[in-house]
Symmetry: C2
Subunit: 153 residues, 2 copies
């Protein structure tokens, strides 16, 4: 599918997968993000991170990984005429993201529900998974998004 082709609710078959990436996370970016939004030692400093009982090494802020996920979601789903609009979902950070990690995104359509009251739209439950270079899931987010129906459908 061309990137300029619109994606309507009718195009979201359960099980369909959209992908984006890979992108590589640099140490500079990890530290920059942390300085501004999440200034904790294990996101800023190697020695402090190494001594931390859980991280045991420099790791990206979970909100940084989430922001990277969003940047890939915007690309993977750029065909949605209303964009990617959701009211939230379950967010899980399953593994740390380290400097140099290569991340990619897979978004799978889990459920599709036309609106009962608004004939121009519906919702779709999506499972966003961010995977590292070893194919391990590092972050998962399952939002319900609002999607336009095909006009005249």
């Amino acid at each position: 599918m061309s990137v300029s082709q619109p994606i309507y609710l009718e195009d979201l078959a359960v099980g369909r997968v959209f992908a984006a990436g890979p992108i590589t996370v640099t140490e500079e970016e990890i530290v920059d993000f942390a300085r501004r939004w999440d200034p904790q030692p294990f996101h800023l400093d190697h020695a402090a991170a190494k001594a931390h009982p859980i991280f045991q090494g420099l790791a990206a802020s979970g909100w940084h990984t989430a922001a990277l996920m969003m940047s890939m979601v915007a690309k993977a789903l750029e065909g949605l005429p209303w964009g990617v609009v959701g009211s939230g979902g379950e967010l899980q950070w399953t593994r740390p993201v380290r400097p140099g990690d290569m991340l990619r995104l897979e978004v799978e359509v889990m459920e599709v529900t036309p609106s009962r009251s608004k004939p121009d739209r519906g919702t779709a439950l999506m499972r966003n998974r961010v995977l590292n270079g070893a194919g391990e899931v590092v972050t998962e987010f399952t939002p319900r998004i609002i999607v336009q129906r095909r006009p005249g459908a």
Copy 2:
């Protein structure tokens, strides 16, 4: 409590509230964040945002609001010796955040559970709520975090 006083699991009574903020969100910041992480028209451009069927005006990326929440959480809970470490939770964006909004944070302790296997730690279920100047909740996140127990307790 002084900011330098450590907060251990034993200090997290259910119902205790930690607070931080307020901070004001500028239009420039909203657009800067969106350009880098969530480049969708309703986060970037007034006219496009006004025409959007759901946003109806420029709004911050939900991930921007989440990052602002984290910056306040790091302050509110800076007494935690291991920092704020969690594996995720339910994230809800309940209202749009607009340019000029003043945001503050309330974190309430919901549940506290000592670890059965690791005597040095436990978990706490926290409810992070970001409120705007009108006192409305704009974002809520309920992570379970890992907290050190008081040494020798």
